[in-house]
Each structure stands twice: as C-alpha cells, then as structure tokens.
C-alpha cells in the first residue's frame, strides 16, 4: 500500500513538472478561463446580479476545462504517442498511474478555483463563499464527474488530430447551454430543458449556492445527485472502453 502511494506521488510529481514545461497546456488550463472572467467582468461591471452569475459560472467552467477537456486531450495524446503502451509494460500499477493523473487534475482545479474565488471576492463584489463545506462537496463531485467523462470521451476520439474538434463540439455548447455566461433561467425553454439534463448546469447551481446565495445544502441535493449520476456513467464508460493502444488504420 505504501508502495502504491509512493508510486502515485512520484507519478503526480512528474505530471506536475511536465505540465509546467508545456506552455500551451498551462495557457489553456489557466489563462483562458481567467480571460473569460476578466472579459465578462468588464462587460457586466455595472450589474452585481450578472456578476453573481458569472463568477460561479466561470468556476464551473474551470472545473470542466481542468478535468474533462484536459484529460480527454491528454489521454488521446498519450495513447497515440505510445506512452500508455510503454507504461503498461512496466510494473507501475495502473491505479498508481491514474491516481497520479487524477491528483494532477485536482491540483489544477484547486489552483484555478482559488484564483476565480479570489478575483470574484476582490474585484467583482461577489464576496468569499458562504458555505465552504458545500463548495468542497460540489467541487469534489464535479471533478470526479468531469474527469471520468473526459477519460470516457477519449475512447471515442480516433486520433489526436481530431481531438480538439471532438472536445470542443461538446465543451462549447455545454458551457453555453449550462448558463456559464448568463442566468439559465432566462434562456428559452427548450435550451433550459436541455441544460437541466446536463451536469454542468447542476454543478453551477451548487457552486452558486455555496459561493453566492448561501442557500442551504438540503436545497441542492438533487443537483448533487445529477452530477453523481453523470459521474457514474462516466466511470462506467471510462473503464469499459479503456485502451492503452492507438487504433490501427
């Protein structure tokens, strides 16, 4: 057990190091959501009610980029490059490998959420989260859900060249429909109905309760359930379709 933990830790440290050495990955993970935060913060700077929607929205989007987007792209790349195949031939347990990778994604999420929360409190009048426990619960559920869905999606992507198309075809509509940039209540009914089925809408609802409205946890249990159900679906397909090898012609 200590051995598996030590290997997970080593893998985690390697992933961190590699991440910072790859400027484009670091950019997409950190700068892009912050750019959105700055842009929308400026656009809605006169209206506190809009800012109250934007900050938890960007927080939810950050969770999706650091887990879903990053893992889907990363797994396809590592699979295509043959890194997964090479690792599979070593004694490194797959649990230690995936654990290290997951911890890496969680760290990115934590860094990014801290920046979003700090910027929301300092610059956008949203204040610090009212309910840290509720925040933690939703962040953990969101990270698990979107990490699993990201790995699951990677199995459906045939090669790295097409990965950005697959990922963005899902990520961009989901971000818009789930009300990252506006209050989902104001959307047309059919969009709202679609949004009600998606996990990001419910994750943002939960984050909003924890960060802005201070609504009690009990009111948002159904949101948590939706996120967890999507997470379970993600885990099922992530494990079922796992392939360490690039597909041949």
């Amino acid at each position: 057990m200590t051995d598996a933990l030590a290997l997970t830790w080593r893998q985690y440290r390697l992933e961190r190091k590699m991440f910072w050495r790859n400027p484009s990955a670091a950019f997409f993970n950190f700068v892009l959501p912050l750019l959105f935060l700055a842009l929308f913060g400026t656009i809605f700077s006169g209206s506190q009610s809009d800012l109250d929607v934007i900050v938890p929205g960007i927080a939810g989007m950050s969770i999706m980029t650091t887990t879903f987007v990053a893992l889907a792209m990363n797994m396809v790349f590592l699979r295509e490059q043959g890194v997964l195949k090479r690792l599979r031939g070593t004694p490194l347990p797959s649990g230690a490998y995936l654990g290290g990778l997951a911890a890496h994604a969680v760290t990115n999420t934590a860094i990014q959420l801290s920046i979003v929360i700090a910027a929301g409190a300092a610059l956008m009048g949203v204040g610090l989260p009212d309910n840290w426990l509720e925040l933690a619960v939703f962040v953990v559920a969101g990270v698990g859900c979107f990490a699993a869905l990201g790995v699951a999606l990677s199995h459906a992507i045939p090669n790295f060249d097409s990965a950005p198309a697959y990922v963005n075809a899902i990520f961009l509509p989901v971000v818009v429909i789930s009300g990252v940039f506006y209050d989902a209540e104001n959307a047309p009914t059919f969009l709202r109905d679609i949004g009600e089925v998606l996990p990001l809408t419910h994750l943002i609802d939960g984050l909003s309760a924890a960060m802005v409205t201070g609504a009690p946890f009990a009111d948002h249990l159904s949101d948590l359930v939706v996120v967890l159900v999507w997470g379970a679906i993600g885990v099922f397909f992530a494990i079922r379709g796992f392939s360490w090898e690039a597909r041949r012609g």
């Binding site: 290997l7 390697l14 190091k17 490059q81 090479r86 004694p91």
Partner: protein, 303 residues
Amino acid sequence: MIAAMDSSAPAILVRDLNKSYGNVHAVRGIDFEVARGEVFGLLGPNGAGKTTTVEVLEGYRTRTSGIVSVLGHDPASRPRALRERVGIVLQDSGVYRHATVRELVAHWAGFYPAPRDVDEVIELAGLRASEDVLARRLSGGQARRLDFALALVGDPELIFLDEPTTGFDPAARRAAWETIRALAELGKTVLLTTHYLDEAQALCDRVAIVKGGRILAVGAPAQLGVGTASRYRVSWRDDDGEIVTRETDDPTALLHQLTSAALARGVGLADLSVSRPSLEDVYLELTTEAVAGPEAIEGKRGR
C-alpha cells in the same frame, strides 16, 4: 512459480501458440523455447507474425490458444512479479516529451524493486552526452537508445527487443549491437525480432525463421546453413572471363585440383572464393518456397 525458481527451466516456453484477429490468423501453431542467458531471434519478413508473438509474450495480447510461459508465469494475466523482471523495447513508443533523458531514466527506475544505477544505465545506453536533453529533441537514434535505457533500468532478467535497429544508420546499428552483446555478457536472456539477416547472424545464439505465422526452421545461425544446404560453394573466373561456380562437400580437394591446374598452365584464378551457404541462402530458400503456399496470402497481416 515452481518453474520460476528452477534456474534450468527455460526462460520462455511456447507450445502451439495461435493468435487470430477476426478472420486473420496471424500466428499458426508456433513452438519454441528460449534458455536462460540465450539470445534468441525471430527472423522473418514484415507481417510474418513476429510482433504478434512477442506481444503475446509481453502480455499485451491474449492468445487464441496454446501454452505460453515466461519466467514461469502466464503473461496473459500480466502479474506484476513478472513485469518487474522483464524489460521491453517496443517497435515504436513515445515518452513524456518534456522530460529529459536523465529524468525519464530516474522516473522509470522508481517502478522497479531493485533498479540499476541511473548513471550506469545512461552510460550503457550511450546517452551520457545527451542526458540533459528533452525527449522531444532527441534524434531517432538517441530516442532508440532511450528505449533501451528505460527497458534496462529495472535490471530485468529477460529483455524483449522488437526490431531494435530498424531505420538505423550503420554506425547506430553497430552501437546497438554492442549494447545487446553487453546484455548477453551480463547473462540476460534476450528475445529479439528482426528482418535483418546480418543482425540475426551477428547477435543470436539461435534463430527461428518465421513466415506466414509459422516457424520454418530453428537453430544456431551457422547450423541452419549446414543443415539445409550443406555444400561449400567455390567460384572463380575462367579464361573467358565468366564466373564459374561449383558446389562440393570437399572444398580442399577441389581447390587442390583448381590451383594445381592453374599453376601448371601458368595462369591465375581471378576472383577465387569459397563460401558456405549463409543464413541468407537458407532464409531465401525457405521464405521463397513458403510464398507458394496458400497461407502466404492470408497470413499477410502479422501485427
């Protein structure tokens, strides 16, 4: 596990191995054994089933039928105890592109219970000069050396090398051969695949010639020549400038005849040579024959 403790048991044992992908029968009843400390080669053209066979032994593929034992384990279940004792150089596989050679070797060392010294491995693989180079900046030859280094750092007993020198320039090939010879001297067991005859001849204690998913012949490179086409070949240029070739079991007598006749007539014997059938002759004889067989067409896809 019993076999694993018995040092006289073969490192690898394969009995009637079959592997199909859908309708494609890539491996059709292969048998061979590799003794401990032996360098064994699977030699054959592309698509012969070499890589499929090796990947079954490495635990990457499950066999359709047959018996396989690697260091006393069944590789299909990929036990960690086995992976700790085996080093694998794949035909083509990547690494973390933003890590240096030294970082990668050190990281890989951490996977194994009793790794070799990182510096020693870098030296052995010939990477001393590029140890601080990022993996993505390595040349093809250096990247291959890194493959070797990562496969060796766990101090494995058994090393799989799948076409270790394909695409190398002659100097890089010689260097890789030196590394493989050094492994053999350390008492490691090596199973390599190649489609280069000279490589099989230079490195292997024994060679299996594979074609269409079957083994056509097994033996020491020199013996393979003797076994199938045992005659010596003597050739020279005659008075008309034509090359004449004679096959004989007794080259001494033939040479004596030729040279005394030439001396008597006061002429030289231009381009005189005596050769034994090389592995190449045997290989071409066997694999060309097999092309006529019906399985050659179906068995094209070997990996």
